[in-house]
């Protein structure tokens, strides 16, 4: 019996937690749907189909734009390995993904919004004000997040081209078109389905961006519609129907995604550069550098805008506001708790998997421990949140459960990443030390303190920082469960934005951005030192 041992038991408990969290939400939705069959069926109305269509449409456009623009940018970056600031551009391209969506939205409106940079320029020349709310804003924000991601992933593909190919291409005198068709495209195409699947999924489940930049019922997605039907209309039947549709959609996309494989950043690095031997014409060089400059500005301007508008906020007033301090404290407490829970549960899964795998007796249990954490990605946080919200309201005021819901949902969402950080270290130390420890009789807590802890300390810290940064920026769960009593920073920020206290909101966005980025940088530093050892 594996369950007689502490490690498999802990792993089973972690799995049970995930199953309860996701299963409870699904059960609640199914229960509600079966109880109010009429309501639910009636809710599969033209509105729902319109929202579903728009969800897919905006994701499709966002993916096409992000990847379509990323291909020439990645090519240009790869063709020019040595210009000043290349490393800076690549680092900058890692930034958007580390920013909470709400903070990025703020940066984007500071450039493209009604009072943004573009609006100023356009007014100066006597043109009208741009209106980005609606599809335009959603696409801008999605491309802002996903273009740099796609560039980095494509560049990883280009970096994996054998060096001899570049020598050959120079010797054979391949021009720009031939280089693209014969060398670069095949290397990028291998990664492309995975990259497009990933970006499509991110855009289908994007909540914050659509909530803040979408324009009313015309430009809304399933996740935002779920939130609105629970938060404003309190139409349970509609919420259930929308949630089920979203779930079916993510399931369908993910099963298609399984066929494409996961894109990797393997081969990507700032340090190692590929040598290229071809002589570019001046025109080609100029076009490439212009392209890089435009992509750089597209990513850098909103970030700069976020900082500049944030700095012009009245921090003295902001920090004399008790609700700001409370929101910061709540965010840190909930984020810290979520991160702690996430790391503990991930460690339990990782340790159990290794122990069960070594025993080689329960392949099914091993598989469950292996894939359990990543399965949670199938169920978007809004679906979990909505399911529990609908269920809990039978027993009490659901807003009372804000803290446990935010902690558990965010912990679960960070687990796939934490597992990926912890597992390699745990598995290699086990492989290296298991026999030695058995021979010397080192076991239990002694082994944990003496052998495991020194090696695991750093990856645990990295996973914690990463998980905390993720939950600090989360808006999905708190948007449903938040209230006057429990407000996180993103929740307060959203409130200030919707009551048009823009300057306050800018200041809050800067605070949130600095907190999340600080944690991400910490995590990044840690993991880089890790890989150097």
């Amino acid at each position: 019996m594996p369950l007689a041992h502490p490690k498999p038991l802990a792993g089973a408990l972690a799995l049970a937690f995930l199953a309860l969290l996701a299963g409870g939400a699904l059960f609640s939705l199914a229960f509600e749907a079966s109880r109010e069959t009429g309501d639910t069926l009636a809710a599969f109305n033209p509105y729902l189909w319109r929202v579903a269509r728009f969800t897919l449409w905006q994701a499709l456009l966002s993916t096409a734009l992000s990847v379509g623009l990323a291909i020439p940018v990645a090519r240009a970056l790869h063709a020019h390995q040595h210009f000043m600031g290349r490393a800076f551009v690549l680092r900058l391209f890692a930034l958007p993904l580390a920013l909470p969506a709400l903070v990025a939205v703020f940066g984007i409106t500071s450039i493209y919004g009604r009072a943004g940079l573009i609006a100023h320029i356009s007014q100066y020349f006597g043109y009208g004000l741009p209106d980005i709310y609606g599809l335009t804003g959603i696409l801008l924000a999605h491309v802002f997040f996903n273009l740099p991601l796609a560039v980095r992933l494509l560049l990883a593909g280009l970096d994996s081209i054998p060096a001899d190919y570049w020598k050959l291409s120079a010797q054979l005198g391949m021009g720009n078109g031939a280089r693209f068709r014969l060398i670069e495209w095949p290397a990028m195409a291998r990664n492309l389905p995975g990259i497009m699947g990933l970006i499509f999924m991110l855009c289908v489940t994007s909540f914050t961006i659509v909530l803040t930049l979408g324009g009313g019922p015309r430009a809304t997605t399933l996740e935002v519609a779920v939130y609105q039907s629970l938060h404003f209309d309190f139409d349970i039947g509609q919420a259930v129907a929308l949630t089920l549709t979203q779930l079916a959609l993510t399931l369908a996309i993910l099963s298609a995604f399984r066929l494409t494989g996961r894109p990797t950043e393997e081969g990507f690095s700032l340090a190692v550069t590929t040598r290229r031997y071809e002589k570019l014409r001046v025109g080609e060089k100029l076009a490439d550098l212009t392209l890089i400059l435009l992509a750089f500005l597209f990513v850098a301007l909103p970030i700069a805008g976020m900082v500049v508008s944030g700095l012009s906020a009245d921090f003295a007033r902001l920090f004399s506001d008790r609700s700001v301090w409370r929101a910061i404290a709540t965010s840190l407490a909930l984020g810290g708790a979520a991160a702690l829970l996430s790391v503990i549960l991930s460690l339990a899964l990782v340790a159990a998997r290794q122990a069960v795998a070594a025993a080689k007796k329960h392949p099914l249990f091993e598989r469950a421990l292996d894939t359990g954490a990543s399965l949670i990605l199938v169920v978007p946080p809004i679906v979990i949140g909505a399911g529990w919200f609908i269920w809990l309201r039978h027993f009490a005021d659901p807003f009372v459960f804000a803290a446990p819901m935010v902690i558990t949902v965010n912990a679960a969402m960070a687990m796939p990443f934490a597992v990926r950080l912890l597992r390699p270290v745990w598995d290699t130390t086990s492989a290296r030390h298991d026999r030695l420890c058995a021979q010397l009789g080192i076991s239990g807590w002694t082994r944990l303190a003496l052998i495991r802890w020194p090696v695991l300390r750093r990856p645990l810290g990295v996973a914690f920082a990463f998980a905390m940064a993720l939950s600090l920026g989360d808006l999905g769960t708190i948007a449903l469960f938040g209230s006057e009593d429990v407000q996180t920073l993103p929740y307060l920020l959203l409130q200030r934005m919707s009551s048009y206290r823009t300057l306050d909101a800018a200041g809050l966005a800067l605070i949130l951005g600095v907190l999340s980025l600080g944690l991400m940088i910490l995590a990044d530093r840690g993991s880089r030192k890790e890989s150097m050892q």
């Binding site: 190919y165 020598k167 291409s169 120079a170 054979l172 005198g173 031939a178 014969l182 095949p186 031997y277």
Partner: protein, 242 residues
């Protein structure tokens, strides 16, 4: 393979090239239509020498002359040189015919004459019937044959072999050397080959350049240098004296 071109003289005059800590200095001449084998311990600069001739590296000073023309500053594609590497000579996603055809037109715009040249080159290296195969469906020796076929359709007077046969077994390697020898007799190009196997030089009756620490320390006919009366450094490298 129209028009038999005579091989060109390859000369490096006072060429200096620094690679990290390593300072290299090359001064050598390979007469037209000769085969030169370059041997020496690893890190002695053998591959760098070929890379300089092919134009993948640019020397700090000195000049590289091919057929008396200074090619030191011109692009790899403009040099009258073809090079075959140890691996990755073929684009993995393209079939044999296309890989060879790239030697005629990097944009793959082929005339009928080009196609005929491609087919006869494939036939010449003994790969007829395998035109549509992808590199993954070829043995290591066959892949190198494709690379040589491409060099044939390029029809450049200088052929550089950078340990091109190093990953092949002895029997296959000898077959490839025989192929090189036959092609050399037909087309009389100048061949420079880097090898770890001094017996390759004997097999081809080549002239030999022995490199140590980025400079040629011994040169002459392979038969003579590799005999008992050869220089001591070479014997140490060969392991015949300790």
């Amino acid at each position: 393979m129209s028009g038999r071109r005579k091989g060109a003289e390859v000369a490096l005059k006072d060429v200096r090239f620094n690679y990290g800590e390593m300072r290299m200095h090359f001064d050598l001449t390979v007469p037209p239509a000769r085969i030169a084998a370059i041997i020496g311990p690893s890190g002695s600069g053998k591959s760098t020498l070929l890379n300089l001739i092919a134009g993948f590296e640019t020397p700090q000073s000195g000049e590289i002359l091919i057929n008396g023309v200074d090619v030191t500053r011109i692009a790899p594609e403009e040099r009258p040189v073809s090079m075959v590497f140890q691996d990755n000579n073929l684009f993995a996603h393209l079939d044999v015919e296309t890989n060879v055809a790239l030697g005629r037109s990097p944009k793959l715009k082929l005339t009928d004459a080009d196609r005929a040249a491609v087919n006869s080159a494939i036939a010449r290296v003994g790969l007829t019937g395998k035109e549509k195969r992808k590199p993954e469906a070829l043995s290591g020796g066959e892949r190198q044959r494709v690379a040589i076929a491409r060099a044939l359709v390029r029809n450049r007077p200088v052929l550089l072999l950078d340990e091109a046969f190093a990953s092949l077994g002895p029997a296959l390697r000898n077959q490839m050397l025989d192929l090189v020898k036959a092609l050399h007799q037909e087309m009389s190009m100048t061949i420079l080959m880097v090898t770890h196997h001094p017996e390759d030089a004997l097999h081809l009756d080549a002239m030999l350049f022995f490199l140590e620490n980025g400079a040629v320390t011994a040169r002459g006919p392979a038969r003579k240098l590799l005999s008992d009366t050869g220089p001591a450094a070479l014997k140490r490298y060969m392991g015949t004296v300790t």
